[in-house]
Amino acid sequence: MPSFSSAPRRSLVRHALCGAALLATVVFAGSAMAEPKGLDLSLDRPSDQGVFRVRIRSQAAPIPMSRVHQWTVHLTDKAGLPISGADLTVDGGMPEHHHGLPTAPRATPVGTPGDYVISGLKFSMRGWWEMKLAIKAPDGRADRITFNLVL
């Protein structure tokens, strides 16, 4: 594992601290983006209005970079009963870079109750990605959910 930072010299640290307040604006404009603090990174949680509970997982670990791969989805209602036959639409992108997904993924049922697979996902760079699902159950209930991934 390479070491990422050399130990800064003390005098420089003090010098930097003095200037930090002054430089703060410049600094943040001048650095690569870090994802916002406090992002909910959970991949198993209730949908926006609490209609469903959704669990997603990449079939490849670690999540591959620049390669098309698949995710599994498990969909239940609030009470944990699996929902089959739902319509799932996949969308997403990088909010900080104002671009969408580089591919057009699709979700299809896999046969077991509440289980779906998303095919065709690709992440073309590291950073904060959103994966959005619009869900429509066969009985008409609908909701959305946005997962956050930091790659």
Binding site: L17, G19, A20, S31, A34, G100, G120
Partner: protein, 411 residues
């Protein structure tokens, strides 16, 4: 990393970048993540291409290398792939648009980075290197040749090498069945001759033509992107073995702008400084050229190309994820072009898909002003860079110059 430490780190880096001496700046955790992604050490072997059975076959690469520079594969006997993709110019030609048998509408692209890309050409109208290679040969302004002539050339000059890889060539001695010159595209005489052939004979010629492309692709896959001083700097930052270098304060400031305020790394990321995507960056249209809708049309062409991954000549028609899940009919594809790799960019002016800019200074000015796109919508917002900042970005881009190719071993 805690924000407090980021402030220290970044402020430290900023103060050092402002200072003249070459002490090593400290980058924030987010910066380091981005920088690590840009490092050539992250570039693995080319991704596999299951649609090309001989993609990594050495004999196919040797045959492909000969075909790549064979001028007899052209209407006037003077044009080979290497005429435009010149090995000593990073496989480009220093011209605004390519010159073959005639003059084209797009700028010649480097080859080594293309090996990593799922889409070929500025508009991504080919989904593999092997199907890409079939385009220029029948393009009337490039090789101006036909697939039947290619098949005959292979039979006359490369029969053994070809047949040991791909099996017997069709017997083309009956000129009634196999005309001398025939193709479904290009000149009217060639198209008429093609239309007169039986479907079976067309397929057997198409198969030879596809194999020709596959051998060339195997050769292209052996070409290497070479590291530059930038990578030696990153080797130093990440304490990696091998050559290490410092960057000047201008170069460092340029790098900071590149991954920060300039937002260049939104598109130019990864070890090739390209996300292999397509974007409309508001590059002006050349008034002397026909309207060019870019990716919007390119993606349609890739989907209908008989030589695509799902087609009859592919070696893995069930393993075509990129084609299967490609984005189509998105407004963002209008005048979107392939994000080029910036490796060695200073060594191969001019720039952009039709050579619109002749210097890196002009390129950076373009990003600073961010004019509206001639069609579609530009993704670039004006950066209003100062003269110093523009100079610094150019200084950084020059650190991507590729080291000279290792000289051939003395005999």
């Amino acid at each position: 990393m805690k924000p407090f430490r980021i402030i220290i780190g970044a402020a430290l880096a900023t103060s050092l970048a402002l200072g003249a001496t070459a002490a090593q700046p400290t980058w924030s955790a987010a910066d380091l993540k981005t920088l690590h992604g840009l490092w050539i050490g992250e570039l693995g072997p080319p991704p596999p291409d299951p649609s090309n059975r001989v993609a990594d076959n050495a004999a196919a690469a040797a045959l492909g290398g000969m075909l790549f520079s064979d001028k007899r594969l052209s209407a006037n006997g003077q044009v080979s792939c290497a005429s435009c993709h010149q090995p000593d110019r990073a496989f480009t030609d220093a011209l605004p648009t390519g010159h073959g048998v005639g003059v084209g509408n797009r700028r010649t692209m480097p080859i080594a980075p293309a090996v990593y890309s799922p889409w070929q050409f500025w508009d991504g109208r080919a989904d593999s290197l092997w199907s890409q290679a079939l385009g220029p040969v029948e393009n009337p302004v490039e090789h101006g040749f036909t697939r039947l002539e290619v098949a005959r050339r292979l039979a006359a000059q490369y029969r053994d090498a070809y047949e040991s890889l791909f099996g017997p060539l069709p017997d083309m001695t009956d000129h009634g069945r196999f005309p001398l010159r025939a193709a479904p595209v290009g000149a009217a005489d060639a198209r008429a001759a093609w239309a007169g052939m039986t479907a079976d004979d067309q397929v057997s010629v198409n198969r030879v033509y596809a194999n020709f492309g596959k051998a060339i692709a195997a050769f292209e896959r052996t070409l290497k992107v070479r590291p530059g001083r930038f990578d030696d700097y990153l080797a130093r930052v990440f304490a990696a073995p091998g050559p290490q270098a410092r960057l000047s304060s201008d170069e460092l400031a340029g790098l900071r702008l590149f991954i920060g305020k300039g937002q260049c790394a939104t598109c130019h990321n990864g070890p090739l400084l390209s996300n292999n995507g397509f974007a409309n960056t508001g590059v002006p249209a050349r008034s002397d050229l026909p309207t060019d809708p870019g990716r919007a049309v390119g993606v349609r062409a890739a989907l209908t190309d008989p030589f695509n991954c799902k087609g009859a000549y592919s070696d893995a028609p069930n393993r075509c994820d990129e084609l299967e899940f490609v984005v189509v009919d998105s407004p963002a594809q209008v005048r979107a072009y392939k994000v080029p790799s910036l490796r060695g960019v200073a060594q191969r002016a001019p720039y952009m898909h039709a050579g619109q800019f002749s210097s890196l200074e002009q390129v950076v000015d373009h990003y600073s002003h961010a004019p509206a796109a001639p069609d579609g919508t530009s993704e670039i917002k004006p950066l209003d860079l100062t003269a110093d900042e523009r100079r610094q970005i150019v200084a950084f881009l020059r650190t991507l110059d590729e080291r000279p190719a290792p000289s051939p071993k003395p005999r």
